[in-house]
């Protein structure tokens, strides 16, 4: 018989994949702040030092509600969060009400051609905890660059793209589609685990 192998450790290192995950896992390093979503994700939250993709049915369809708890947590830990070329003006009172410490938030205006460059610089620099970008056009190669930059800079990269891009292959470690009607999140891809097949109903804003 070989050496006694600690089963727990194997599971932790994800060398053994368990078909049905029933037990409650410890909280991940970058929880999303939505308990149900964290449950579905293999790392218990955002993939650390990697690119995540949000595929939006339409700009403004609920991405902030998904992101705010994370941004609030990071800024309250005095870590910098950068928004690269957001499609609208981030409305300060609402962001403040969501718990985001605005002193640690930076907004970068960049033209459509410069968005990817700016996002890559921010991710790579290592001085930003999270970088959110809204690239107008991003192909497979551009996203791979962002993914590598996020890994280098140990940052949380989040790219918001239209839902039409869901069919294209992507190197992002996590892909979440946000549907407007019905209001739900669908995890399309998550590294290190199987994407859950059931969509997750999301709470609505603006009630």
């Amino acid at each position: 018989m070989g050496a006694v192998v600690d089963l727990e450790r194997l599971l932790e290192q994800r060398q053994v994949w368990r078909g049905r995950q029933t037990q409650v896992r410890p909280q991940g390093l970058q929880p999303t702040g939505h308990a149900q979503l964290d449950q579905q994700l293999p790392e218990g939250g955002w993939p650390v030092a990697a690119l995540s993709e949000l595929l939006l049915a339409s700009a403004g369809c609920g991405e902030l509600h998904l992101l705010w708890p994370t941004l609030a947590r990071l800024t309250s830990e005095r870590q910098r969060v950068v928004l690269v070329a957001p499609p609208f003006i981030p409305y300060a009172p609402a962001w403040l009400a969501a718990g985001v410490d605005l002193r640690w938030l930076a907004v970068i205006d960049a033209s459509a051609q410069e968005v990817l460059w700016a996002a890559e610089q921010c991710l790579r620099s290592g001085s930003c905890a999270a970088v959110l970008c809204w690239p107008a056009q991003a192909d497979d190669r551009a996203l791979r660059r962002l993914q590598v930059a996020a890994q280098t800079g140990n940052a949380l990269g989040i790219a918001c793209r239209p839902l039409q891009a869901a069919g294209n292959p992507s190197p992002a470690a996590l892909r979440i589609a946000i549907d407007a009607r019905p209001a739900q999140w669908r995890v399309l891809k998550c590294r290190g685990g199987q994407a859950p097949s059931t969509p997750l109903a999301r709470p609505r804003q603006g009630r």
């Binding site: 300060a92 620099s125 001085s127 407007a180 804003q205 009630r207």
Partner: protein, 472 residues
Amino acid sequence: MLWACIVLPQLALDTVLRDRDDPHTPLVLLGGPTQRRVLQAVNGAAAALGLRAGQSLTAARALADGFNCVEADPARIEQVEQMLAAWAYGYSAQVSLHYPRTLLLEVGSSLQLFGSWAQVQARMREQLQGFGLRQRIVLAANPVAARMLANAHDGLAVTTPEQTRAALAQLPIERSGLPGEVAEAFARMGLRRVQQVLELPREALARRFPASVQLHLDQLLGLRRLPLAFYEPPQRFDAFVELNFDVESHEALLFPLRRLIADLAVFLLGRDCGVQRLDLHLEHAQGQSTLLKVGLLSAERDAGLLFELARGRLEALRIPAPVRKLRLQVDDLPRFVPSHQGLFDPRAAQAQSWEQLRERLRARLGDTAVNGLSVHSDHRPEQAWRSAEAAQGLALGPLAGQRPGWLLADPQKLAPSTFTVLGQPERIESGWWDGSDVRRDYFRIETREGLRGWAYQDIAQPGQLWLQGWFA
């Protein structure tokens, strides 16, 4: 007191070479009157063609073909000497340019800071190599001895007057810095070494030779002092590079720019200050020169960073006419405070600080591209936020209604029957004091696609709804 002497034997040629990025093409330095041009110095590639310093240009042309000629430029050499003095000022407060192509600096009092002389010397040599300058370095007990020993030695270090005297005694008389005819007279008398001259009785020497000879010998031994004018760093930086052809592309300007900024960084390090605003003049053959201003948010002095920032600004510039000369001017030299970092900072391994990143982004995207976000206490939605990184504004206390996360820069007309209104309106009526007053009823709406928006109706013109934000 210990004096280091740095002789730069090929300063003129090295100065030309460091302005060019093609070290392997044959190059000669020309001097002399127009009728008889003479090769003052040649580089390695030109020497391989058989060219020698001292040849006339006609002879050189007969010997070889395809070498570049450059006029010796005394003003440029002067500029490099000033730069070197600023560099040496980082090692010692007493730096003198008394002898041409030579730096004299008192290092005895600097060794406390820099460690042993061997370390200082190694560091100086490494930096001078980095500037592209060949050098001979000698350490002696007085400045004149250091200068004269450098004629015959490289790397010699004699620290006591006795050792200095012993080293001087072995110096050939023609290398001792005496005027040519005096050295020749000594040689004809059979005196080949300084030792033999020093053994002569003073009276005999004084009778036969001018007083300056005895003075020089005394200064050599440190018996009398040589009055030295010390270098004082200027209050501003001004340097230029003449381009020897018309430059119209950005790429061709980058090499001279890198050189200028490297010189600036040396100067800043010597002065122990930083730079926040630099002016780059692109001078054209005709007409007004183009001015490129590079402004930073905080003082910096790292050559790589400054170059990259200047490059970002330069590449965005449209060059109107061919450039002949690149000039870098800095008038304001603020104190440089290096940013400090906690040892246990979770992001201590970062390569770049946020300040540096911000400068990089501003350099490429424009000065106003990077903004903060803050709350302004006003009820009007378009006035309730500021993009400047202001002090944390006072929020208006608990807000009556919910506010959307995204605000549209310009409100959009909503076509009727594409949405449904949710809940009760909220009235916002404010701003009568500054002219842009609003009287609006705000509604929460849901579009047909299922998006939640924030729209208003102007009380003066009811009926039309304007979309102003998204509850994302």
